[in-house]
Amino acid sequence: MTRIGVFICHCGHNIASTVNVEEVVEYAKTLPGVAYAGHNLYSCSEEGLGSIKRSIKENDLDRVVVAACTPRTHEPLFRRACEQAGINKYLFEFVNIREHCSWIHAKEPKEATEKAKKLVAMGVAKAALLKPQTEGESAVLPAAVVIGGGLSGLAATSSLVEQDIETHLVEITDRLGGLLCDVTTVGPEGKDARALIEEMVRRIEASPKAHIHMKARVSEVKGFIGNFEVTINDCDGPVKVPAGAIIVATGTRELVPTGEYGFGRYPQVITQLDLEKRLAKGERPNRVVFINCVGSRQPGREYCSRVCCNVTLKNALKLAKASPDSRIHVIHRDIMSSGIAAEKLYKETSDSGVKFLRYGLESPPEVIGDGDGVKVLVFDETLDETIHLEADLVVLAVPMVPPDDSETTAKLLKVPRDKFGFFLEAHVKLRPVEFATDGVFICGSARWPVSARECIWQGMAAAAKASIPIKEGKVVIQAITAEVDPDKCAACGNCVLACPYEAIEIVEQDGRRAAKVNEAQCKGCGTCVAACHNDAISQKGFTSNQLTAMIDALVKSALEASR
């Protein structure tokens, strides 16, 4: 008979204000195989974890069930506590009575308590059948691949090679620096863009560990964390590069306006990047109207592209300073100059004589032809009337959008994108430069439009993350993977097709063909188990008999409750 310990968490008021925790504890004590049941104010606190560990020893427990919040954030903590108390960490079962119960049934405390009991009964039934598992180890190749030679990719590469890590930088064009190549100065500080790129490239070129692949693209990615094989195609043909980690730094591009404000009709109407090119040539037009949020912050493309306001401010100030009789107007919806340097730039720009006019989505400005020039008609909220501005140039601040090949990159690496096509990180708050896929990292404007400074630190951050497994030299392979019973396997290949991680192949073993799971590549998703016609694959920690036991426990508990 097993000796299961059940710990019900109050989560402060999060669970306890809805679920009657003490009642669930008393119920748990009646369940088969349960040797101890108790409760904690916060099971995840040091106190809570300590009490679980003590209880394991005092009650000689061999299985642990915690009914609390979500395994996504907290399972590693409890598994570790079990391990520290001498129980194999896979003999731990997590029951979610917060997200799955107290939070969604906040107004039905009685029913929520009953549901919590059923969930606990299911967890206990499963726990009784859990088996200890051992985790494997897999070696990590001491090299990295960085895709994209813009600022964030340069920063990532620079940091990796400065940590003595062999790094392949893959750039699709014939120049390093990405968007910055077309920009005069960067940041509110006004640093020379070319000098910045040169500094980064110099650092990289100084290292024998750096390999730069120009006019190259990644055509295939095989493998898994620690053991990727990346095919890089350049003018000399394909080369296969082994890598322990991959960093995505594919950047962004400027949206091409679709006729807004006379773009394409009047040559005077240009984008911010167009202006940058003209500024680089030394052009300093006198009468310039900037229109911000063109094609962004509106239905269809709702997001704010973060960097455009500061680019507008920087260039408006540059033009205002160029000539005492310049007339520069910025037509905007909100000025997004967050922080210290940007807000200072905003103040300096308004002090320099640049006029700011605010428009609403309901009354956007209008650009009309006026002889050889153009005029901008804008409703002035302060004057309560429409004013006319003559302009030599109208500069549209259009949002940054993902590059055209971002879908291809996503498919290549099997990483997700958001609804706008930007790459989706593992956790928006706490894992900003990681993908959910182990060993693949993200930085810079491929994730979200960011400033030069942010590009650099994110590139460094991705390098920090990539360097961890590479320097460790090995990664732990989690034990919750699929396993094949070769005696039942018909080698039909259904599982091979179903596996989203390319972790299964049909191999010949002892004279017969059968499916084989590469445990390092398997994510334990269970798709293959469902696809198998012969019941030949099972998933450790989620076996059929464990799941059946959970269903039986649910039915039993429901019948008892209805009696």
Binding site: N14, L41, L196, C304, D334, I340, A452, I456, E472
Partner: protein
């Protein structure tokens, strides 16, 4: 062993420590208060996903405490730094907590019996703690601390109750400050921010009008583990407000106080509005703002959702005056509406939330002198080189998180990882 010192145990310091420790370096994490966690521990939810703040932070705190490569120095301060890169010697003062942490089990018997009550920092003064206390339930490490300034035994040798009830024998009234020296080649400063004291701006009535609170106080009121158990109640009469207003840029974007933008207030006010409405269905929230700065991933959509699904009213105006109505509950807010036809309006709200300027944490100036690094004119740590964005003015000393300028949580986290990368470069690569 290769070593780094991280100063500040908020989310930035925690992340930098974890990355360096995972990378194989020994990390000494120095935190001024009795527990790591920083401001993120006080937040109810985080924007724009409304993830529970403590739920995502607490595992990281525990990982820090459990990590074989991390040595936590809580209730400690960096007292001195000698030497230069790559050989710094850092002196850490571990302040006397009058408790033997090797014996304390965190059972709380002493807290229950302590007769002295003082305003609770973690609850932003909305509740009281004892003179012997745990800063908050999920504190790491879970060890009690005696607040020597308020303990009767420490002050006048009259009490001793905690020592009597402590079965572990952990109380030690004679404990002295301890000094620890650590040799290191890299120091990361991540000492964060604090709220400007906006009670000095008398037009906003904070401290005079009971129902004017700070945004961090509201965060505690909204928190299920907070002083009201998550019940939205205004301070004057503990009633649930029906009309709630926020004032943005209180003390920031203001040439008389702090010129800069604090970066996070537009979004957290939006978040708090949504949460308040979820706590009190039918509640009407109004946000007085200057520019609605929603520049991060999912931020603009979050604001739209607040507007459309939660009826949050955004008014672009800066209230000029806040008064207490007769009877003492609620607030009267005077503001101008826009345009030529704009007029002065005085509107009554049940409760007003100020979003104060976020300023460098206390002691930043002294610490900068100790470390020999420059501050910018606003008192944040200067990181002047765009190409080395976490380097301070002194080689080998790095900065990340809010102390190097206003920044939100994900940016603090990525910047902390960047600082870890830079520290690794410096420790391993030598003088580059």
């Amino acid at each position: 062993m290769k070593r780094a010192v991280v100063i500040g145990g908020g989310i930035a310091g925690i992340q930098a420590s974890l990355d360096l420790a995972d990378r194989g370096f020994e990390v000494h994490l120095v935190e001024k208060s009795p527990s790591i966690g920083g401001h993120m521990a006080q937040l109810d939810k985080t924007f724009p996903t409304n993830d529970c703040s403590m739920c995502i932070l607490s595992p990281k705190m525990i990982m820090c405490a459990d990590h074989a490569n991390i040595k936590l120095h809580t209730y400690s301060e960096v007292e001195g730094v000698s030497g230069d890169f790559p050989k710094f010697k850092v002196t850490i003062k571990e302040k006397a907590r009058y408790v033997d942490v090797t014996k304390c089990t965190g059972c709380g018997d002493c807290i229950a019996k302590c007769p002295v009550k003082v305003p609770w920092e973690f609850e932003e003064g909305l509740a009281q703690r004892k003179a012997i206390y745990l800063p908050f339930p999920q504190a790491v490490p879970r060890k009690v601390t005696i607040d020597g300034d308020h303990c009767r035994m420490i002050q006048s040798k009259k009490c001793g109750v905690c020592k009597k009830v402590c079965q572990a024998g952990a109380i030690d009234y004679d404990q002295k400050d301890r000094y620890v020296e650590v040799d290191t080649s890299a120091i990361i400063v991540a000492t964060g921010f604090e709220l400007m004291d906006t009670s000095v701006m008398s037009q906003y009535c904070l401290g005079v009008c009971k129902d004017v609170v700070t945004s961090l106080q509201l965060e505690r009121i909204l928190s299920a583990s907070g002083p009201t158990g998550g019940h939205l109640a205004r301070p004057s009469d503990h009633q649930e407000p029906k009309k709630l207003a926020f004032v943005q840029c209180v003390g920031s974007r203001d040439s008389h106080t702090h010129g800069y933008c604090s970066s996070v207030c537009c979004m957290y006010a939006t978040k708090e509005s949504i949460l308040a409405r979820e706590h009190a269905p039918g509640l009407e929230a109004t946000i007085f703002y200057m520019d609605m700065r929603a520049t991060g991933k999912g931020f603009q959509e979050f604001v739209s959702r607040a507007r459309q699904n939660y009826g949050v009213r955004y008014i672009r105006s800066r209230p000029a005056k806040v008064q207490s109505p007769e009877g003492g509950s609620g607030v009267l807010v005077s503001y101008e509406t826009r345009g030529l036809s704009g007029e002065s309006v005085t509107e009554e709200f049940d409760m007003l939330v100020l979003c104060p300027a976020l300023i460098p944490s206390k002691g930043a100036k002294e610490l900068s002198k100790t470390l020999g690094i420059d501050l910018d004119e606003d008192g944040f740590i200067d990181t002047p080189d765009l190409a080395r964005p976490v380097d301070t003015s002194r080689k080998g000393i790095l900065a990340c998180g809010f102390i190097s300028g206003p920044i939100d949580i994900p940016d603090s986290v990525s910047q902390a990882s960047a600082a870890a990368a830079r520290a690794a470069e410096l420790i391993e690569g030598g003088d580059r």
